[in-house]
Amino acid sequence: MSLDVLTYLFIGGSFVLYIGIAIWARAGSTKEFYVAGGGVHPVANGMATAADWMSAASFISLAGLVSFIGRDGGAYLMGWTGGYVLLAMLLAPYLRKFGKFTVPDFVGDRYYSNTARVIAVVCTIVISFTYVAGQMRGVGIVFSRYLHVDINTGVIIGMAIVFFYAVLGGMKGITYTQVAQYCVLILAFTVPAFFLSLQITGHVLPQIGLGATLDSGMSVLATLDQLSTDLGFAEYTAGKKSTIDIFCLTAALMAGTAGLPHVIVRFFTVPRVKDARTSAGWALIFIAILYTSVPGVAGFGRVNLIQTINGTDNAGTEYAQMPQWFKNWENAGLLGWHDYNGDGKVQYAAGAAFDGKKGKPAFDGENRGEYGERAVTNAIADPAAVNGAPYANEVYVDRDIMVLANPEIAQLPNWVIALVAAGAVAAALSTAAGLLLVISTAISHDLMKTCINPNISDKQELMYARIAAVVAICIAGYFGINPPGFVAQVVALAFGLASSSVFPVIVMGIFNKRMNKEGAIAGMIVGLGSTMAYMIYFTFMGGAKEDLFLGISTGGFGFVGMILNFIVAYIVSMMTPPPPAEIQEIVENIRVPRGAGSAHAH
């Protein structure tokens, strides 16, 4: 069967499955819509959390990122998994005992303040929207590459599917589709990883294969170091960023992970406090299956990419001889080549190949060059080899193609390629649905029901939740079709906000009985304000690199914001009256597991 037919079958089949589950798991009450009725088994919740958490970024971009930045990629690997340790020990069990529906619920009740609640609602909505735009874009890219439809059509198909099961089924529908989506995405990631590892190292598991020795007698990592330095790149196993920067980035990603509202709410859906703890354990196991495969996929992909392009003699490969995948991704605009030395061969080395932002090519419409390659308008006038590389770099390779192109580069069978496409769509849709639910809940429950009109009935609230979900899907779709040019930076902002506001305010609410509303509000404002100001100044207002605080990049500043939040909140709370007795009782109560019951309404 041709690749196209297989891809339609795999993606179409997975959609039928998701829709079937949505019809089976319709939500009838707000409790089912918000927390799936509170009766989800911890293993199922673990899988759903894993699918919820692992987005298009984890599935498509992470291995590419590690592949291109080498050891520094560890900050993302540790940051995005280590956060679960914080979540399991500092947040999840207590929030489950608290037993409401949302993060703003906790913040508003614990700090007896609607101001605090509204700040939490704003954080929740900003964090979730920045995230969801990237997911919709991911769906569009996969559709356009594999099903040859317009990116916009792809986004609209994705919106329609999410609409169906998120609006109908709420948390209940989402939970069980996420379980199915986890199975699809983990198969789609690990099967090609096994093939790649087997092909290159003879070991099935990429976790072991990355440490293996190749036929040449060198280990995979030593080969990577060698190839990298030969071509003028830094050593693969060496760090490039400063230690303090990596330290802060890792810490911000960990606290941010623990503070993401769409992940936290998943722990409201299990029956008991102890289930919240084991559920976090299951979630991390399911996540670790993918995350521990990533370094292998990244390493093998890099070796394959370099050797395929430069050839075994390291002299480059003639464009006409390049395999089909190179041309496919060139047509998709994620690869570009310009023959600087006029030898008709493609050569890859360190340095920017084109005179654009991040070395990206600007294509000259559909015009073709001498060898049939896509013509570019921003070739560098006089490129020189950098860092002792043997030749000037002639290729732009988008990091995002690593996972998607890997099966093609390794010449795996067509069904594997189709599976990867279905997996990427599953990863994007599952995360998008979780985020949209959080947005709709924040609006219908935290704003409409709690702040504006407490008298609305359960049925009306459910209707508001569904309307809010529809509006949120439309906004997300709009951003998917017209992506802001700064998606990557905005995602860093989401983690920065979560780590500097949501995470500390919840931790203090549980572990510091004396913390009062004045302290919490002051802390959130300082943490949030400093982090946003720092990121906006250095990302959009052209702040100079030399002016960075201690050399900490914007992605890591969330950690500094978190520290500021803790300090300010503590000082302010000490200068203002302690919280009322009944609030202190709530805190005593959430610290003890017994009596959690199922999640309840007000």
């Binding site: 590690v66 050891r71 990629g73 560890g74 690997l77 540790m78 998994t81 280590g82 679960y84 340790v85 399991a88 020990m89 500092l90 069990p93 976790q207 072991i208 990355l210 440490g211 293996a212 020795t213 280990s219 995979v220 990592l221 196993t237 760090g239 230690t243 990596i246 330290f247 890792t250 810490a251 960990m254 008991r272 406090v273 102890k274 703890r277 084991t278 976090a280 354990g281 991390l284 196991i285 670790a288 995350y291 521990t292 370094p295 005593e588 610290r591 003890v592 597991p593 017994r594 009596g595 959690a596």
Partner: protein
């Protein structure tokens, strides 16, 4: 023991458990994976430089172990103080 003293004792033991596990978490992630990564890289570990391995894989295995160890410790503690569900 009154119920509030019981809850107090339960809470301080819980804090001790959290601090113990989070110390391991900190040492593995930040001391081994970041601060001392260069020094540890000099040690070979099944074909990996040790620091690089901890940074990209080992830490994740440790996190999984930590969460499960915590869940088991807490289940025992809940029963000891009779606060389980």
């Amino acid at each position: 023991m009154s119920s509030s003293e019981n809850a107090q004792a339960y809470w301080s033991e819980n804090l001790r458990i959290i601090i113990t596990y989070l110390s391991v978490w900190f040492v593995v992630s930040y001391v081994c994976g970041i601060l001392l990564v260069e020094q540890l890289n000099a040690i070979p570990f099944f074909g990996f430089p040790l620091g690089f391995w901890i940074d990209q894989q080992g830490s994740i295995f440790v996190y999984v172990g930590l969460i499960w160890a915590y869940a088991f410790s807490m289940n025992k503690l809940d029963e000891k103080y009779d606060v389980h569900e």
